[in-house]
Subunit: 340 residues, 2 copies
């Protein structure tokens, strides 16, 4: 039986959203879940909302990492935090995956120091953009600066994740740049282009912001700074567009009642490209499944993240990444996992 | 009388779209326009489409800069190109602004070498994102690498442009980063944060991709690499969302005829946040108005770009930038205009 470890503290949303998401996931997927956080607070939610505790247990933590805390706080001054506890449960085998919507920097640091990286790999977030077809963006925010060799390693990890999760053999890889021509980009992109071309990773060349919706490449590699900007811009524009169009429908000649089914349909379509529908972003390169849930996740998004984490665990993607880890490191360049 | 110089060659769209856009602009705004390009080709379009040549003249160019040409080609091997000719007309005072949808790198190089920069300033594209309120993104693609001092200079130029064009006094400035906290970003953002804080530019701190739709900051400064990715991602997601929702409406229970007025309304709303509605992106820091028209512009977008360029010229924004140029350069850092 698969067991998920869910951090219910330190995110923007209230813990109750996360607890409800967990209860829904138990009911729908029959998974076991360990909730980590303030035990009193968690129990209060169960009582107040009259939720079933079936297949759920609670591990208490005295504190939690806030968004303002430094990345290393999770292993230093906040070693009694829910994030630290949860990562330790994962590391010691008392669960199959750890999920958190807390401080990303701390999650990266905690996963690196408590769960450990796969030898030689640099960890990176892989967020899926759900437009024409899924596009996996690696790194979507773990490392603001990377080396060209890191990008090759991201491409290789991303391909294994992509083909496992989205059942596509031999996914294509694009390098995010400011134009499709080989000469585009900063020195990072130019050097990475040369490496990727010969890396046997289905490289199709540079891709632009435009291609994040087209699915021209399945896996798009970039530094975590650009990736984070692309990811958040895509989310913001998607949400804004849907909101504006919904307001248009509401204010059109229609009566409110007549517009209702149409607006419902609109929102269903909108969900199709809501990143939270695709679940969380895995920390690729960590030796066990660690998943970042979307910062503004509600109960539904938490449930979806658990669903996708179950699939992530059951496909064994991470063990395939580990098995291939020596091949994932780009040999002729700097070791991909080396910290700068 | 204001006179526009329009390059009709070297863009993705056919020259006929640009010529039609120019004719429409003459009719609607009464502006004079010089078209630069292959004279035979241009005359053919006028004859074939039976367009009025009132207030339009044509300057012939033997060649044009392609998207594949290097940036310096415009002043070297392609000195007989339409872009070179048009920039020279602007430089010699035979027009008030030059507009082109051609090769951005060549436009930057040509503007720099033929029209010249305002002393001490580094030129940057300023694209307007048209969501909750206009957000001016500087640099949206001219320089893949910039210094912290450049970002201060972009903020100052951007504020002058913004308040002139969008009639807002004392616009706010945000620094594009991967999180709102002061500690976020690469060394570039961290150093720029420290400079911007004390620069008297209405700095509100770091902004994220999310803020490009919210209008939390009026002017968002960034390097041209990240800016280009944000701009293209925003455009792609906006377009994809509208397309998908339009398909939903088409396929919903409605009859096609019943859905038609609603779909029309949807597209009108969609236009509201189509970047081409806002016209082109000026090359801030160049001593005369040079405007990049959107790469996939059609006749309507060309007309809009001319409209906004007329306003750009008539507000005298560029002369205010020039008048203030000594104040625009960040004194305590590296000179902002110094090429690396």
């Amino acid at each position: 039986m698969i067991k998920m470890i869910l951090d219910v503290m330190g995110q923007d949303a209230p813990a109750s959203e996360f607890i409800r998401g967990a209860v829904d996931a138990v009911r729908e997927y029959g998974v076991d879940i360990t909730l980590v956080g303030d035990e009193g607070l968690i129990n209060d939610v169960f009582i107040k909302e009259d939720l079933s505790m079936e297949k759920i247990d609670v591990v208490h933590a005295d504190s939690f990492v806030t968004m303002e805390d430094g990345a290393m706080s999770v292993v230093k001054e906040k070693s009694d935090s829910s994030m630290n506890r949860g990562l330790k449960l994962l590391a010691s085998g008392e669960g199959d995956a750890f999920l958190s919507a807390g401080n990303s920097g701390a999650l990266l640091a905690g996963a690196t120091f408590i769960v450990r990286r796969i030898r030689g790999l640099r960890a990176a977030f892989g967020a899926t953009l759900p437009f024409e077809s899924p596009v996996l963006l690696v790194d979507s925010g773990a490392n603001t600066q990377v080396t060209p060799a890191d990008l090759v390693s991201f491409a290789k990890m991303g391909r294994i994740y992509y083909s496992g999760m989205y059942r596509k053999e031999d996914p294509t890889v694009g390098l995010l740049s400011n134009g499709t021509e080989e000469t585009k980009g900063t020195p990072l992109q130019k050097e990475a282009y040369a490496l990727l071309k010969d890396a046997g990773v289905g490289f199709i060349g540079n891709v632009e912001g435009f291609d994040l919706t087209s699915g021209r490449a399945d896996v798009v590699v970039c530094d975590g700074f650009s990736g984070n900007i692309a990811l958040k811009t895509a989310e913001a524009v998607g949400r804004f567009t849907v909101k504006t169009l919904d307001e248009t429908l509401r204010s059109t000649f229609f009566s409110k009642a007549a517009a209702l089914p149409l607006r419902k349909r609109l929102r269903e379509t909108a969900k199709r490209f809501d990143p939270s529908e695709y679940g969380g972003a895995p920390l690729l390169g960590i030796s066990k499944p660690v998943v970042k849930i979307h910062g503004s996740a509600d109960a539904r998004a938490v449930k979806n993240a658990i669903r996708s984490a179950i699939y992530y665990v059951s496909t064994g993607v991470i063990y395939e990444i580990a098995r291939n880890s020596s091949k994932l490191v780009y040999k002729d360049g700097a070791p991909a996992g080396k910290e700068k």
